[in-house]
Amino acid sequence: MISFLVNNKPVQFSGEPDTPLLWALRDYLHLTGTKYGCGIGQCGSCTVHIDGKARRSCITPVSSLQGRSVLTIEGLADESGQLHPIQQAWLEEDVPQCGYCQSGLIMSTVEFLKKHPQPSDADIDSNIDNLCRCGTYVRIRKAIHRAAALMAGEVT
């Protein structure tokens, strides 16, 4: 039995300990916002936070999570449904097309903007490496800048 937190709620996982967190979230906890894209940590669709750090859940076994805290896309907005500024920026810039990669992109951006609160385009280029097959990169870039401004209180 492995005990950890998911979106601040305690969970006990009794499946196989080598199960990747991605499949524990999806098959066992029915949190399907985190997506499978490649299974090898390449595309970033499965990005979640573990103890505040962005991690690729498809290559993170549940056995490594004892006592740790996982945040998924479903836990990003606050309990009243108030969106995180990054979600808000994504919405305002209408980033998604098919939408499949966007949970992972948003989770990657949450960590990125913590480290780079006023990012340059070069910062984005060298840090955001999630794949978007629809090619929404033009709007992702705009949304990251908008989110940074929202978080800095420069725009409302």
Binding site: R26, D94, Q97, G99, R133
Partner: protein, 755 residues
């Protein structure tokens, strides 16, 4: 005001009890019977509960549920089609609930019919097929709400009008919300005539940028894709497919797989005969388990021996070599106008080059998947599919259960790009569910998806142009050796294989007197299918590259050469995607526009250059201007992109721009890095490590997407953007460093040459 629309002469009178017949052709293009009335209501929807036809339900609180019957694959159709209804029905945009609809298949004495009209997205027709239809749905519902009000207030219908969500009768000083009138309206008979539609100058929703209606559910992770389907009692399945094209199972040792905790069953799945049409792509062995991870582990533990395949020696090397050998001979002359050989013999200058365009995979980010539950007399399928009627056909073929007892729910697709026009994964899921009796969710890994696809065909193109002494192109030929998309299509004669790869009416047939197309088929064992734009992508790359080569070798400016050739005619008949007419002036307008935006004529420093390209397809027109720089060590930087589209009329400019942005990036991504290759009969690529889709670092911040409206008729959008992007890029590379890219992908070619 527009006059009342009449019924086309000779068209049948569709009563309430008739269905609209629609079907899919072998190429996957929908032949859609546009309903003459708004509601092809063969079944009477229950009356008195606010339902008006199949698509609309007015709720008492004033919310309006609008049905959405088409697949959503990221093109934004769920928002765009609802806009059409909302405009004509005069809805409050904030009070709309979108209700997904399953496949509307019904059996009649005459065969299967589609009670919601044609359902399917391919060939960039999702909007154009529904443009009139969905507006009529809205206009009819509005009319019936006004009829209800007129009846209630005992006033003439002509005195009633609407404001968003409200019917008003100013002369009687009365008004009522749609919510108050919905019940009564739903008891009225459906009109049998097409309703009057709004003139465009009164639009308040259509033609204005609207947000994606589903974006909040996407950014919160709540939106459900096919792979998110979770049903009671559901098991998880994967298939180990033959690694060699057309391989078959010789023997299976499932001891290890069955020893994996959670594995429930293991059994072989039959694939197609070599050369026969595909119902599924490959022979394999299914593993069914109580979780995805157990299924994956079980599959890893399988030991399978495969029989030798007839395609065991297939290789890309051989493919390119055979193409070259074929091009040395004479192929099938599929179009021959004027006297090409004589024109070439008499030409003042002849330009000739070859281009190689590889096979590519669709690689939608959500791999194929399907939920199926096959019971003794019914099937339930939930699938991300572009062709739900094909899913129904696949389920029927796999199970033998009558199609009217097969429910197909259309799941949101994590990308389409043409991959989900085929429903091979639906067949697989049905086979597995029928064998086990369980509801199952079939999972494809990324490796499964890249190695088992209906690939865009690769080919070698030889282009020849003859110019007269004034430098005018008078003769043109394209000779193509390729794997045809029509390979292994049912009832496809060999002499028609070229039709999927060469489109005779494309530029520059109508502009030159002597014009030839010649085809050679290469029967490499890779499965082929439709990939966004199909052959337009490939042919635009080749033709637009070659134009620049002609310009360079004859001392002309690439833009001036294009404008001169496009300017030779005003209009041409166009038989094929997006016909019946092509207007070259619309490409001229776009080319001039993008050239102006990027400052085309400006002198640039060494290592920096611009390139242009333009193409017509699916009724739409697009052009790109791209600026690049190349470092001394051969590193390529895309500095600036200007993209422009003329899609006639942009119903949702926000979605059109999104498609143009994404389509451009799709084109560049594919040109930069993507190739499917084969060795010893096996696809070599496995995952995004060796199939490297473009990431954000190669997309410049200087990226403009422009819409140039033309008239009031919307065209296709999704496949218009990609074709000119790749040649604009390679033309820019040539302009920067004088290196011509004649083989895709670009990959490391520039570094190799410069170091």
């Amino acid at each position: 005001m527009m006059s009342k629309r009449g019924r086309p002469q000779g068209a049948p009178d569709l009563s309430r009890r008739r269905f609209i017949i629609a079907g899919a052709t072998a190429s996957g293009t929908l032949l859609l019977g546009i309903p003459l009335t708004s509601f092809p209501s063969g079944e009477n929807p229950s009356e008195g509960d606010g339902r008006i036809g199949f698509y609309i339900q007015v709720l008492e609180n004033g919310d309006v549920a609008v049905g959405h019957a088409q697949p959503e694959i990221g093109q934004g159709l769920r928002t765009t089609l609802i806009m059409l209804v909302a405009e004509e029905m005069d809805l409050d945009w904030k009070r709309i609930r979108i209700e997904p609809m399953p496949l509307g298949i019904v059996k009649t004495a005459e065969g299967y019919t589609w009670k919601y009209g044609g359902q399917g997205v391919g060939g960039s027709t999702g909007l154009t097929n529904n443009w009139t239809y969905m507006r009529e749905v809205g206009a009819t519902a509005r009319l019936m709400l006004m009829q209800a009000a007129a009846q209630l207030w005992n006033v003439p219908l002509s005195s009633c009008d609407t404001r968003p969500g409200v019917v008003v009768c100013e002369s009687a000083g009365k008004q009522a919300t749609y919510g108050e009138l919905g019940k009564l309206a739903s008891t009225l008979p459906l009109p049998t005539e097409s309703p009057e539609l709004k003139p465009m100058n009164q639009y308040r929703i259509v033609g204005k940028p609207q947000h994606n209606e589903e974006v909040r559910d996407i950014v919160t992770g709540n939106i459900k894709f096919g792979s998110d389907t979770q049903m009671p009692g559901m098991r998880y399945a994967v298939i180990l497919r033959s690694p060699v094209l057309n391989g078959t199972v010789k023997s299976v040792d499932d001891t290890g797989a069955r020893a994996v905790k959670g594995v429930l069953d293991v059994f072989p799945v039959e694939g197609p005969e070599p050369g026969a049409p595909y119902h599924i792509l490959a022979h394999g062995v299914a593993v069914v388990a109580d979780s995805t991870w157990a299924a994956i582990k079980g599959r890893r533990a399988l030991k399978v021996e495969w029989n030798e395949s007839p395609n065991k020696d297939d290789s890309s090397e051989k493919f390119w070599q055979q193409n070259a050998e074929m091009l040395a001979g004479q192929g099938q002359l599929v179009h021959d106008q004027g006297d090409f050989p004589a024109a070439i013999a008499a030409a003042d200058k002849v330009v000739k080059h070859r281009y190689e365009v590889p096979f590519v995979s669709h690689a939608p980010l959500e791999p194929q998947n399907c939920y199926a539950w096959v019971k003794s007399d019914s099937v339930h399928v939930i699938a991300p599919t572009q062709m739900p009627a094909g899913a129904s056909r696949a389920a029927n073929a796999a199970t033998g259960i009558e199609r009217e007892n097969i429910r197909v729910d259309i799941a949101r697709s994590g990308g389409g790009f043409g991959r989900r026009l085929t429903n091979d994964y639906v067949t697989e899921a049905c086979i597995i569910s029928q064998k086990t009796g369980w509801p199952i969710q079939l999972f494809w890994s990324r490796e499964d998806d890249i190695r088992n696809d209906f690939y865009r065909p690769g080919g070698t193109h030889e282009l020849i142009a003859g110019l007269d002494d004034a430098g005018k192109v008078t003769a043109w030929s394209q000779r193509l050796a390729s794997g045809s998309k029509y390979y292994r299509r049912p009832n496809m004669p060999d002499e028609n294989l070229w039709q999927a790869e060469l489109y005779p009416d494309d530029f520059p047939k109508a502009m030159v007197e002597h014009f030839r197309l010649e085809y050679f088929h290469n029967a490499i064992g890779l499965p082929r299918g439709s990939w966004r734009g199909p052959a337009h992508w490939v042919n635009a790359f080749v033709v637009q590259s070659f134009l620049d080569e002609i310009a360079h070798e004859t001392g002309q400016d690439p833009l001036a050469l294009r404008l001169e050739m496009l300017g030779r005619i005003d209009e041409q008949p166009y038989d094929g995607h997006g016909g019946p007419v092509m207007t070259p002036g619309r490409l001229v307008r776009l080319l001039k526009f993008v050239a102006g935006r990027i400052d085309y004529g400006k002198k640039r420093p060494p290592g920096r250059g611009v390139g242009l390209a333009a193409h017509f397809t699916f009724g739409g027109y697009a052009a790109h201007a791209i600026e690049v720089s190349v470092s001394k060590s051969g590193d390529l930087f895309i500095e600036r992109i200007v993209a422009a589209i003329d899609c006639g009329f942009a119903v949702n400019p926000n979605a059109v721009k999104a498609q143009l942005e994404g389509g451009t990036i799709d084109g560049l991504s594919t040109a930069l890095g993507l190739e499917i290759s084969v060795h010893d009969g096996q696809v070599l690529q496995r995952n995004f490590t060796d199939y490297p889709l473009m990431k954000i670092d190669r997309v410049p911040a200087l990226f403009e997407a422009h819409i140039l409206d033309y008239d009031g008729t919307p065209t296709g959008v999704g496949e218009i953007g990609p074709p000119p992007a790749a040649p604009a890029l390679t033309n820019a590379i040539f302009n920067a460093i004088g290196m011509r890219i004649r083989k895709l992908p670009i990959a490391g070619q520039i570094q190799e040459k410069m170091t």
